[in-house]
Amino acid sequence: MRTIRGFTLAGAACLAAALFLLLAPAAARAQKEIVLWHAYRGEEKAALEEVVARYNAANAAKGIKITTLPIPYDAFADRITAAVPRGKGPDLFIYAQDRLGGWIEAGNTIEPIDFYLDQPTRDRFLPTTLQAMTYQGNVYGLPLNFKVITMIYNKKLVSKPPTTSAELVATAKRLTNAKAGRFGLAYSYADFYYHAILMNAFGGGVFDAQRRPQLDSPANVKSFQLLMKWFGTDRILPAEPSTALITSLFNDGKAAIVFSGPWFLGEVAKGVDYGLAPLPTLTEADGAPMRPWMTVEGVFVAAPSKNKDAAYDVAKYLTDLSAAKTMAVRGRQTPSNLKVYEDPQVSADPVLQAFRDQVEVAIPMPNLAEMTLVWSPATTAMNTIVKKSATIPAALAEAQAKVVEGIQRLRGGK
């Protein structure tokens, strides 16, 4: 008897609680909810949530509320591809611009925002970052921040950072002792993303202005010749450079100069006194600076969203001056907002300033869908060149042939 009564009471309590939960928020639902997905952790996440809280406080009266949802980085792109076109995604999401082309071609993923974009908003941003958000003449997102590769050096080993490639080679040679495992220069030169700093300096690159691949252009050939000079003749670079290797060499004081981006700084050990400087200019390219690819993270409005206007206003808020300042100071990001660098707190930070200086010569990474087909042949070409199992023009010609074939198959057409 006792147990039956107990069960009945418990069941009634559960039913009541369920009814309460179902009916109570009906009143709160009059609020408009904008869902924002991001892949931030740690300080960046805290900074973003501070900005969002400010927005919610300011707009509580209008009944608009932002809800953020952090998603692990590895799964993020796949979730967007799978969930958003089916209407199960967020209203807004923050991601890098390199997948932009693929998502636009797949359709029903990202909303073009030229309609909303006015000149004052356009003028807020570093022009190249807005260009990174543009695909076939339409703007698809507002740039939030950028990441570029710059020169990171060990202050104990290098007193004055080199400004030209001639100085770089001289400094590095002095500090290299291959037998002892010390190298003057260490960077992931076998990664095509890192090699772009040389390709772009010589005026080469992956796609030309008409979106046709140009992997075997003379400029690219020259960039590889320079790399082989550094690796083969000057011997200032280590073999098989993985990111783990570069990090451990730098932390052990065995690498004097590293070319890497903000992601590297988080891995540097506490005892290492490091400095940042712009990448040197290339004497071999008539003094042209090394131009890294910039990866721009943008805020995108999802195409199936039911609150596009409100979502765009949120995107504008996330990229304006006050939000940029929070993301820079607390989140340690380098925002695309131009004015934020005049703020005393931001201009006093040497790391942020160094990246800001570097981005002046950076080129947006190609956001075409065809870019994913390029990585594999390009990496193969890089490996064959570095291992000297093919001549530079031959390896590049083969990569070019593969990319052209891949693109033709992909585009099909009638």
């Binding site: 290797l245 990585w375 585009r411």
Partner: protein
């Protein structure tokens, strides 16, 4: 309970075949009619779309000459709406100013009259304009007709109205868009097919009934007669279908030719009137080149329809060609349906249907119990598999995910490319080089990988199992746990660790080699050494499984067998060969089959340890398929690749099964 056998014998062949013929005729004719109705309505829709495009494109061509912005354009639009009442809600959008330049929509009057900036609710219209502009530019740059430049929506249902949007160009640059809604097109005369259908169903039935009276109970001739009558009925219907479709197509073509002429004339007249009006005020819109039918009767990529617009010299050839294709398609479908109908006739006529029904009734409880599992298997296993196979016959890539499967059908082309490519070795300037992307090279690599791995796994596993099986071994549980660890740890992590161990400068393996005085090897430079790294990793990962299986089997061998053998004077090696190995067979053979299939598809190790280096030479079939799907975005090709892998393993499994059953008898 007795099976009513007496009853089944007395059901006459005649009646059964009659029933079968009725059913088959009904089913076949129904399918064919459904196909015909669908084709007819598709043809009608296509004609309606062509007519719509002709009207809007004529207006677009006129606006190209009159200008997108300005009062001249607005005047032209007004005249056009007055002249052609079938075009409603004409709107002209200019992209650079995000503005509505001209509109005959009833809402856009008074305060909302054009020209004005577009409002927030009209964003989709602006986006459509940008989309069309991007499509035109992409098609021109890439030189292929990939993206639709004229967007058409609607046409279904009783409404039948179409909303059409076309780009407006000035000196080769798309600067705006014109969007309009067309009224429901008039339905042309329809030829009734009801009579043909009724004849095709009823006649065979009647004729067979009459003929069978003469033939009697002989099953063979009865079946032959029924089949012949069925074939004749279906062919008859097929021929009539071809005739109907051809007639309607000709009528449609004539209508489009007529409309194109009318519209071209209208465009010329209205342009001239507008020019005259505005010339008087000193503003001259350009009249440019005359508007031809080839520029108006276009497809959605703005190319002349089918290569030759209506009314142009090539049109007749195009119509004839399309008619021939339709006839061929109908013939193929009719043959397919005919075969199905014949199968149905045989199924029912020969009594198989009756037996099937009896089985279902007798075992209906069993079938009911199995139903949930069958449904689950269908949804989770069979449907994805069938979809994958269907995809393998198409040219699906990232860029055509919005097209349905029949639109991108390429038949066996993918399989031909995979299996027919024998160019394993290429001649380059530096000598003969292996083409590592070739299927046969990858197959060779995969087979070598599987054979090597399974051999190593089995030998090492068996060896360790024999050692662990020693009587009186101390600390045996500890050894067992330690030896199972490689299998228990996540192989993602261990693969990455092994990759690090093979690093040329800082890896452990090279350090050890150097201690022994050798030269450090660059493991990922050559195919042979790269293959060895993956082999070492997978060997380390796979021996525990074989060891466990062998240990279990070893422990089940009765020890008195060994006693007896020892007393007979057999050596250790003879004992092993005659007692241990045969007893291990029933356990090891299934383990080997499993291991072969797992290793054949061992994605993780190759992907993480060698990553296919150097230059895709160590890829196995499954990693190659993955790269085709997710790096080169060629889904159809990758699906074909996967189906080929499945076929290979199916053949292997079947062969292995037969071989082992033959050896099971040895005790």
């Amino acid at each position: 309970m007795t099976v009513p056998t007496a009853r089944t014998i007395t059901i006459s062949h005649r009646r059964r075949i009659l029933a079968g013929l009725a059913l088959a005729a009904l089913a076949g004719v129904a399918l064919l009619t459904a196909g015909l109705v669908a084709s007819r309505s598709a043809q009608r829709e296509e004609t309606a779309r062509r007519l719509g495009i002709v009207r809007v494109q004529a207006l677009a061509q006129s606006l190209d000459r009159a200008g997108i912005e300005g009062d001249a354009a607005r005047d032209l639009v007004r005249r056009w709406a007055a002249s052609d009442p079938s075009l409603h809600s004409i709107r002209v959008i200019a992209l650079s100013g995000i503005s509505l330049e001209a509109s005959t929509a009833p809402d856009d009057a008074g305060a909302r009259a054009a020209p004005r900036r577009l409002e927030r609710e009209e964003k989709p219209l602006y986006d459509q304009g940008q989309r069309i502009r991007a499509a035109a530019e992409t098609n021109r740059e890439e030189g292929v007709a990939r993206k639709t430049e004229i967007e058409i929506v609607g046409g279904e249902g009783p409404d039948g109205r179409l909303e059409i949007a076309a780009p407006l160009e000035r000196e080769g640059v798309v600067g705006g868009m014109v969007a309009a809604t067309t009224a429901k097109p008039p339905t042309g005369p329809r030829r009734g097919i009801a009579l043909d259908v009724a004849l095709a169903v009823v006649l065979p039935f009647l004729l067979f009934w009459i003929a069978s009276r003469g033939i009697g109970e002989r099953r063979g001739p009865l079946l032959a007669t029924a089949a012949a009558l069925l074939a004749i009925a279906i062919s008859f219907l097929g021929v009539r279908a071809v005739g109907t479709l051809a007639e309607e197509r000709r009528a449609g073509e004539a209508a489009v030719a007529q409309a194109a002429e009318t519209e071209a004339a209208r465009a010329a007249r209205l342009l001239a009137e507008t020019a005259a009006d505005w010339a008087a005020l000193g503003v001259t819109p350009t009249t440019g080149t005359p508007i031809t039918t080839a520029a108006i009767d276009v497809d959605v990529y703005r190319r002349p329809y089918g290569g030759a617009a209506a009314g142009t010299p090539g049109a007749a050839a195009r119509v004839a060609r399309d008619a021939g294709e339709t006839a061929r398609a109908v013939r193929r479908v009719a043959i397919g349906i005919g075969l199905l109908a014949l199968a149905l006739l045989a199924f029912v006529g020969l009594g198989a249907a009756a037996r099937f029904g009896a089985t279902l009734r007798r075992h209906r409880e069993a079938y009911l119990y199995v139903l949930p599992a069958m449904l689950g298997m269908f949804v989770l296993v069979f449907f994805p598999f069938i979809y994958g196979v269907a995809l393998s016959f198409t040219d699906a890539t990232l860029f055509n995910t919005d097209k349905s499967i029949p639109e991108i059908w390429v038949g066996l082309r993918n399989y031909g490319e995979i299996l027919g490519d024998f160019a394993i070795v290429k001649q380059t300037e530096s000598g003969a080089v292996v083409n590592y992307l070739n299927f046969y090279w990858t197959l060779f690599n995969t087979v070598l990988w599987t054979v090597a791995n399974v051999s190593i796994g089995v030998s090492v596993g068996l060896f360790l199992a024999l050692i662990l099986n020693t009587r009186g071994l101390r600390l045996r549980p500890i050894y067992r746990v330690l030896l199972i660890l490689p299998w228990a740890m996540p192989n993602y992590i261990t693969a990455l660790i092994w990759r690090g161990m093979f690093h040329q400068q800082f890896g452990v393996v090279n350090q050890v080699i150097q201690i022994f005085g050798g030269e450090p090897i660059s493991w990922f430079d050559r195919w042979s050494t790269s293959f060895l790294t993956a082999l070492a990793t997978n060997g380390w990962l796979s021996f525990p499984f074989m060891m466990v299986v062998s240990l279990g089997a070893l422990q089940s061998i009765p020890s008195d067998l060994f006693e007896a053998a020892r007393m007979d004077g057999a050596s250790r090696w003879q004992q092993f060969r005659s007692i241990t190995l045969p007893s291990l067979q029933p356990a090891l053979i299934p383990a080997i089959i499993l291991s072969v299939i797992w290793t054949f598809n061992m994605f993780n190790i190759i992907y993480l340890v060698t990553q296919g280096e150097p230059g895709s030479s160590t890829e196995i079939l499954i990693t190659q398929s993955y790269k085709y799907a997710f790096e080169r975005y060629r889904y159809g090709y990758a699906a074909a690749y996967s189906t080929v892998i499945f076929m290979i393993l199916l053949v292997y499994g079947y062969w292995q099964n037969r071989v082992t059953r033959a050896t099971e008898g040895i005790a």
